[in-house]
Amino acid sequence: MTSLPKPRGALGVAVLSALADVPEREVPRLDLAPESADDAALTLWVLHELAYGGFVEVDDRADGEPELMRVRRRLEDDLERQLRDRWPGVPEGVDLGTGFFDWLADQDGPSLARFVQAEATHEQVLDLLRVRSVYHLKEADPTTWVIPRLPVSAKAPLVELQYDEYGVGDPARLHSHLFARGMEASGLRPEPGVYVDDAPVEVLEQNNALSMFGLRRHLRGAAVGHLAAFEATSSLPSRRMAQGLQRLGLPAEIVGYYTEHVEADAVHEQVALRDVCVRLVAEEPGLEPDVWFGAWACLDLENRTARRLLSGWGVAA
């Protein structure tokens, strides 16, 4: 089970200390503004984690505690506002069903997978696996929150996709478990959350946006748009990752995690776009802008993560 990470500012200190006292002591009113983007992101990551696996030091009843929910909501609203302020808007003249993949291909951004394929060192790859583990160890979980919020026409295909993510009922094939085995074989710790302290703010925001899209019903369009963009930018990069890991002699388990995604995500991108997004928009046309918003957010957050990691390694992004 996950241990609490280190707070990154005054709000984090206040929230983490209140968590330790639940349920014996009522959480005091927390009107403190986050001290920095790091403080906001880490605090929101902790508050979201209460809805997933929780923390070894925190009582399960902390999830849903009213004052903590109020803080979470405030941080989510800030994150949503920042994303919407950066978003250039719905692309003009692009049909969602027929133009989405070409639109994605036209979006530029630095590629961590290309860097790993050709140049990264062993240590840089381990850095990357550590920060990727924040998501990959609960891979697919944030999207599961969306299932009950979709009309039947989009719900059934999303479950079909998630069923594959969850190993077709076989715990040994669960994607998050494949990653955990890959971490362990690579000499890294496979427990969820152990590398959160190493994750730069961009990685936390990437995770927080995904959780927020799943947990907030008004963002269900963004959740499925994010899913479609995520799956559609996975097959070819996963192949490059696998080639880079093989070049460096990393173990078969972690290479296998990426090769699994080459074929799995070539299926998932079709199902996510054509069966989930397009059908949702057919039934709820007002959600189309948010489908594009979610797709854009997926790319934007990954670009920020890539730039941060590459510049940390002294590589021009």
């Binding site: 009309p151 077709v168 074929e263 070539a266 299926v267 079709q270």
Partner: protein, 68 residues
């Protein structure tokens, strides 16, 4: 109640792969048989996949006229 169409078991994706739902054995160009391992499988239609007979997304980097 909204009418929903039953899903297709075999689906041709414009410009992309053929989706196959369920368990199948696919025989490739060389006569080698490959059993499906997931609930939905994507079979390459552009001929350029490095994981044939399965799709690996390569069709997306082909010019539109070379896509299926």
């Amino acid at each position: 109640m909204t009418e929903v169409r039953a899903r297709a078991d075999v689906e041709l994706c414009p410009g992309g792969p053929m989706l196959l739902r369920g368990d199948h054995v696919v025989r490739d160009d060389d006569g080698v048989e490959h059993r499906t391992t997931r609930p939905v499988s994507a079979v390459c239609r552009c001929g350029k996949s490095a994981s044939k007979p399965w799709c690996d997304g390569t069709h997306k980097v082909l010019p539109a006229k070379l896509r299926p």
